[in-house]
C-alpha cells in the first residue's frame, strides 16, 4: 500500500468517526442516532483495519473484526430493541438545543486540538496527528451525556466516549495487545446489555425513561 493512500484512508476513516459523533448531536430521531453510532463503529473498525494493513499486524486485524462485530452490529442491534420497547423515546429531548450543541461541539474540537498539541509533538506521525479527533470524540460523547435527557441517548453518549478512547488508543499505540482489546470491547457489550435491562425495567416500573424524573432518588 502506498504511503499517500494509507494516510488518506486513515484520515478519511478517522474523520468519519468524528463526523458521526457530531451527527448524533444534530439529529433528533433516536433511530438515526443509533444508525450514526453504527456507522461510527464501522469507521472505527476501518481505522483499525487500515492500521493493521499498514503495520502487518494480525492481532490488530482480529481486533478490527471484533470491533466491527461488536460496535458495528451487536450494540446497535441491542439499542434498536430498547427503542422498540419504548415508543416515547423516538425523539431526544436535549437540555441544550441543537444549534447551541453544534457550536459547543465546534468549541470542543478546538479545545481538543489545543490540549493535545503537546502530545502529538512527542512523536509526530500520520497516525498521531489524528489524535485530537479521538479526544474530540470523547468530549462530544461526554457533552451528549450531560445534555441529553433520554436514557437511550445517555447510553449512546457513553458509547461515544468509549469509541473515542478506542480511537485514541489505536492511533497512539497502533493497537494494544489483543487480550486487552478483547476485554474492553466485551466490557462495552456487557455495559450495554446491563443498561438495556435497566432501562427497560425502569421504564416498566416508573413509566418513564427520562433521567430528570428520577430526581427524588437522591438521599
Amino acid at each position: 500500500m502506498s504511503t499517500s493512500f494509507y494516510i488518506g484512508a486513515l484520515e478519511l476513516a478517522t474523520g468519519a468517526v468524528l463526523v458521526c459523533a457530531v451527527m448524533t448531536l444534530w439529529r433528533r430521531q433516536v433511530r438515526t442516532i443509533v444508525t450514526m453510532l453504527r456507522l461510527q463503529g464501522v469507521a472505527l473498525a476501518c481505522v483499525a483495519g487500515v492500521l493493521a494493513w499498514h503495520e502487518h499486524d494480525l492481532g490488530l486485524a482480529i481486533t478490527a473484526l471484533l470491533v466491527l462485530a461488536v460496535k458495528g452490529v451487536l450494540v446497535p442491534w441491542l439499542l434498536r430493541r430498547v427503542i422498540r420497547r419504548d415508543p416515547r423515546s423516538r425523539e431526544t429531548a436535549p437540555l441544550i438545543n441543537v444549534p447551541a450543541s453544534l457550536v459547543s461541539a465546534a468549541f470542543l474540537i478546538v479545545v481538543s486540538y489545543v490540549v493535545t498539541s503537546k502530545l502529538t509533538a512527542l512523536a509526530p506521525s500520520a497516525a498521531t496527528r489524528l489524535v485530537p479527533i479521538g479526544v474530540a470524540t470523547v468530549l462530544v460523547g461526554y457533552f451528549m451525556l450531560v445534555t441529553r435527557r433520554r436514557a437511550v441517548s445517555q447510553i449512546v453518549g457513553l458509547l461515544l466516549v468509549d469509541n473515542g478512547i478506542a480511537l485514541v488508543t489505536f492511533l497512539l499505540t497502533a493497537g494494544v495487545p489483543l487480550i486487552v482489546e478483547l476485554g474492553s470491547t466485551l466490557d462495552v457489550l456487557l455495559v450495554v446489555v446491563v443498561l438495556q435491562v435497566l432501562v427497560v425495567n425502569t421504564g416498566a416500573r416508573h413509566g418513564s425513561f427520562d433521567l430528570d424524573e428520577m430526581r427524588e432518588l437522591h438521599d
Binding site: L95, V111, S112, V114, V115, T116, S117, K118, L139, Y142, F143, L145, V146, T147, R149, L211, D212, M214, R215, E216, L217, H218
Partner: protein, 664 residues
C-alpha cells in the same frame, strides 16, 4: 524475635479460632490461644529487656509495596511486655465475663486483632508498619466499643466521637512522620540517619504534628473528649485494654519520636508537653472527683495519670535539652514506671468495675454501697488497685510518683528560668493531682464498698466467677511487687531509656531491694517501710489485746428522726459537692434545684429535687461550636447536590475540561 512472631501468630490463630469454633467452646479456646500468644510475646520482650540487645524482622510479603519492619528494642519491648501482661489478665477475665454480644464471632476476633495490633505498634520500625497497625488498633477498638450497640444506642455516639478523634490524630501523626521521611527512606533507621539534615523548622513542625496525634491518643486535654465517652461504653475487658495499653501507646509515640527519632530537640517542644500534662492532670483529677459513674470516673483518672506521665516526659526532655542528662533520665524512668504501674492498677480497676457491674447491674456509685460484705474478694482486689493509684507507700503508684518527683525536684539545680518555672508548676500539679485522686478514690471505696446498700441490686449482689477474680488478681501482682521491690524493674527501665537519649549516662538509680539515687540525695526502702508498718500494726493489736475492754453497743444519734435508712448516707454527689463548689469556675456544673411548696403555706416544702450535672466544659466550649460550623458547611454543600444526574455529569465534564486546559 522468633518467640515474638510466634506470639503474633497465636493471636492470628485466635482470630481464626474465633470465627470457626462453635459457641460453647469458643470463648475458652480463643482466650487460651490468645493468652499463650501473650505469654510468648512477654517472654520475647523480657529477653530483650534483660539482654538489652535489639532484634529485627523484615518481610516484604505481609504489606504490599513497603513490607513490614519490626524491631524489638528495649523501649518497645517495655511496652510490649506491659501490653502482653495486661492482655493475659484481660483474656483470663474474659472467660468468666464474656456473655451475650462479647461471645460473638466478630467481638472475640476483634478483641484478638486489637490485642495483636497493640503488641505490634511498639515493635514497628517503619512509618508504614507503624501507621498500618496504628490504624488497625484504632479501628478494631472503635468496633469493640460498639459491641453492645443493639442494646445501647449511646455506644454509637461514643464510637463516633472516638472514630473522629482517632482519625484526626492518625492523620496528624502520618503527616508528621512523612515530613521526617522526606530525605529518603521510611524506616526508623533511615529517619535517624537523615534527621540531622532536616531544617530545624521542619523538625519542629513534625514534632508538633506527631505530638498532637499521640497526645490525643494519650487523652491529653484538650484532645481528650473521646476518652470519657469511649471508655465507659466499651465492655470492661476492652476498657481495661484501652485504658492501660492503648493510651500508653500515645506516650510511647512521644518518647519514640521526640527522644529517639528526633534525638532530643529544643526546650520549647518539651514545655508544650509539660503544659499539656499539667492541664490534663488537673482537669482529669477534678472531673474524676465529681464523677458518679464509676467507669467515667476511671476514664477521667486515666486522663489525670497520663497527664502526670506527660509532665514527666516533658520535664525529662527539657532537662536533657538544657544539659542535665542525669535528672532527665530520672524523670523519664519515673514517667515510664508510672505508665507501667498505671497499666496494672487501671487495668485492675476497670476489670473491678466490670465485676461490680456484673454483680449489681449498675456502675453508678449512687446505686451501690456495702459491697465489701457481699463481694469481699473482688472488693479486696479493687482496693489493691485503688491503693496503688492513690500512691500509698509499698504500692506501685508510690514508687513511680516518688521517682518522678525526685526527677523534678533535683532538676532545680538548673539556672534557666523557663525550666525552673516549668518544674515548679510540674511539682505543684503533681501534688494537687495526687490529693484530688486520693479524694476520688476515697469516695469510690467509701460510697461504693462501705456503708449500706443503696439499692436492692447492691444488697443482693453475688460474687463474680473465679476466672474474673483471677484476671484482676494477675494485675494486682505488679501493683504490689513494683511497690515493695521496685529494684527488680529499674535496671530494665534503665535499659529501655538508653535507646532514647544520645548521651548515655550510666544508671541514675542504684538498685538493691530499695532504690537510691546515684550522686543525688534520695533513697527509699519500701521493704523497710512495709516491715515498719507491720510492726506498728502488730504492736497496736498486741496492746489492744492486753487491755481488752468489752465493746459497748449504743444506738446511733439520729437527731430525733426515725430509724436511719440507706438514703441518709453520704452520696457520691454530696461527697464531692464542696470540691465541686470550690472549682466551679473550671467544672461549670449545671445545677437544678426544684422546690415544690405545699398548697396551704408557702413556708412548707412538699418535695425538693436536686440535680447536678458536670459536663465537659472543653467539649461544650470548643468542640460543639466547631461541630456546628462543620454541619452548617455540610448543609450548604448539599444545595449543590440536587439529585439531577445531568448536573453531576456536568460537574465531571467541566472538571475534565478545566484539567485538560490547565495541563495543556
Amino acid at each position: 524475635m522468633v518467640l515474638f512472631m510466634a506470639g503474633l501468630g497465636c493471636c492470628v490463630l485466635g482470630v481464626v479460632a474465633a470465627t470457626v469454633i462453635s459457641l460453647e467452646r469458643r470463648v475458652i479456646v480463643v482466650t487460651l490461644v490468645g493468652s499463650v500468644g501473650c505469654l510468648l510475646t512477654f517472654t520475647a520482650a523480657s529477653q530483650v529487656l534483660v539482654s538489652g540487645r535489639a532484634e529485627s524482622f523484615h518481610s516484604s510479603l505481609v504489606l504490599p509495596l513497603a513490607g513490614i519492619n519490626l524491631t524489638l528494642d528495649p523501649l518497645g519491648a517495655l511496652f510490649v511486655a506491659m501490653t502482653s501482661f495486661v492482655g493475659v489478665a484481660t483474656l483470663v477475665y474474659c472467660v468468666g465475663y464474656a456473655r451475650g454480644e462479647l461471645r460473638s464471632r466478630s467481638a472475640l476476633s476483634l478483641l484478638l486483632v486489637f490485642l495483636m495490633s497493640l503488641l505490634v505498634v511498639p515493635a514497628a520500625s517503619s512509618v508504614v508498619t507503624l501507621m498500618f497497625f496504628w490504624e488497625l488498633m484504632a479501628l478494631s477498638s472503635m468496633l469493640l466499643i460498639m459491641v453492645e450497640q443493639r442494646r445501647r444506642v449511646e455506644t454509637r455516639v461514643a464510637a463516633q466521637w472516638y472514630g473522629a478523634m482517632t482519625q484526626l490524630g492518625a492523620a496528624s501523626i502520618l503527616l508528621g512522620l512523612l515530613l521526617l521521611s522526606t530525605k529518603g527512606g521510611q524506616t526508623f533507621g533511615d529517619i535517624r540517619s537523615h534527621v540531622a539534615a532536616l531544617s530545624p523548622t521542619l523538625r519542629s513542625f513534625a514534632f508538633v504534628l506527631t505530638l498532637i496525634g499521640f497526645a490525643s491518643k494519650a487523652g491529653a486535654v484538650p484532645f481528650h473528649v473521646w476518652l470519657p465517652k469511649a471508655h465507659p461504653e466499651a465492655p470492661s475487658p476492652v476498657s481495661a485494654l484501652m485504658s492501660s495499653a492503648m493510651v500508653a501507646m500515645g506516650v510511647y509515640g512521644i518518647v519514640r519520636v521526640g527522644n529517639d527519632l528526633l534525638g532530643g530537640g529544643t526546650l520549647w517542644w518539651w514545655i508544650i508537653v509539660v503544659a499539656l500534662g499539667v492541664v490534663s492532670a488537673l482537669f482529669g483529677a477534678l472531673h474524676a472527683v465529681t464523677s458518679v459513674d464509676l467507669k467515667r470516673l476511671l476514664a477521667y483518672s486515666t486522663i489525670d495519670i497520663l497527664g502526670l506521665v506527660l509532665i514527666g516526659v516533658g520535664c525529662s526532655g527539657a532537662l536533657a535539652a538544657s544539659g542535665h542528662p542525669r535528672t532527665a533520665h530520672l524523670a523519664l524512668i519515673g514517667a515510664l514506671l508510672l505508665v507501667v504501674s498505671h497499666a496494672a492498677f487501671k487495668g485492675c480497676l476497670f476489670l473491678g468495675v466490670g465485676a461490680i457491674e456484673r454483680a449489681t447491674g449498675s456502675r453508678s456509685l449512687d446505686h451501690l454501697g456495702g459491697l465489701i460484705r457481699r463481694i469481699p474478694i473482688s472488693t479486696a482486689l479493687f482496693v489493691v488497685g485503688a491503693l496503688s493509684i492513690v500512691a500509698v507507700p509499698a504500692f506501685s503508684g508510690f514508687t513511680s510518683e516518688w521517682l518522678l518527683l525526685q526527677g523534678l525536684l533535683h532538676g532545680f539545680v538548673g539556672k534557666s528560668s523557663p525550666t525552673l518555672i516549668m518544674l515548679l508548676v510540674g511539682v505543684v500539679a503533681l501534688a494537687l493531682t495526687g490529693g484530688l485522686t486520693a479524694v476520688a478514690f476515697v469516695k469510690v471505696i467509701g460510697i461504693g464498698f462501705l456503708g449500706q446498700a443503696r439499692s436492692t441490686a447492691a444488697a443482693s449482689a453475688h460474687e463474680v466467677p473465679r476466672t474474673m477474680q483471677i484476671g484482676m488478681g494477675i494485675l494486682c501482682i505488679p501493683c504490689v511487687v513494683l511497690g515493695v521491690a521496685p529494684g527488680i524493674v529499674i535496671p530494665l527501665l534503665n535499659r529501655a531509656i538508653q535507646t532514647g537519649h544520645s548521651s548515655s549516662v550510666s544508671r541514675p538509680v542504684e538498685t538493691g531491694i530499695g532504690l537510691s539515687l546515684v550522686h543525688l540525695r534520695g533513697a527509699i526502702e519500701p521493704m523497710l517501710l512495709l516491715a515498719g508498718f507491720v510492726v506498728i500494726v502488730a504492736v497496736i493489736a498486741g496492746a489492744n489485746s492486753i487491755r481488752r475492754r468489752p465493746a459497748r453497743k449504743v444506738e446511733a444519734w439520729r437527731g430525733g428522726g426515725d430509724r436511719p435508712t440507706a438514703r441518709m448516707q453520704y452520696t457520691a454527689t454530696s461527697y464531692a459537692e464542696p470540691l465541686q463548689r470550690v472549682f466551679a469556675d473550671v467544672l461549670r456544673p449545671e445545677i437544678d434545684v426544684e422546690v415544690t411548696h405545699a398548697v396551704e403555706s408557702h413556708y412548707y416544702e412538699q418535695s425538693l429535687s436536686y440535680e447536678s450535672r458536670v459536663g465537659d466544659a472543653i467539649e461544650r466550649l470548643a468542640y460543639q461550636p466547631a461541630i456546628r460550623a462543620v454541619t452548617r458547611v455540610g448543609l450548604a454543600a448539599r444545595r449543590i447536590q440536587n439529585g439531577s444526574v445531568h448536573r453531576y455529569l456536568a460537574f465531571g465534564f467541566i472538571a475534565l475540561l478545566i484539567i485538560l486546559v490547565v495541563l495543556a
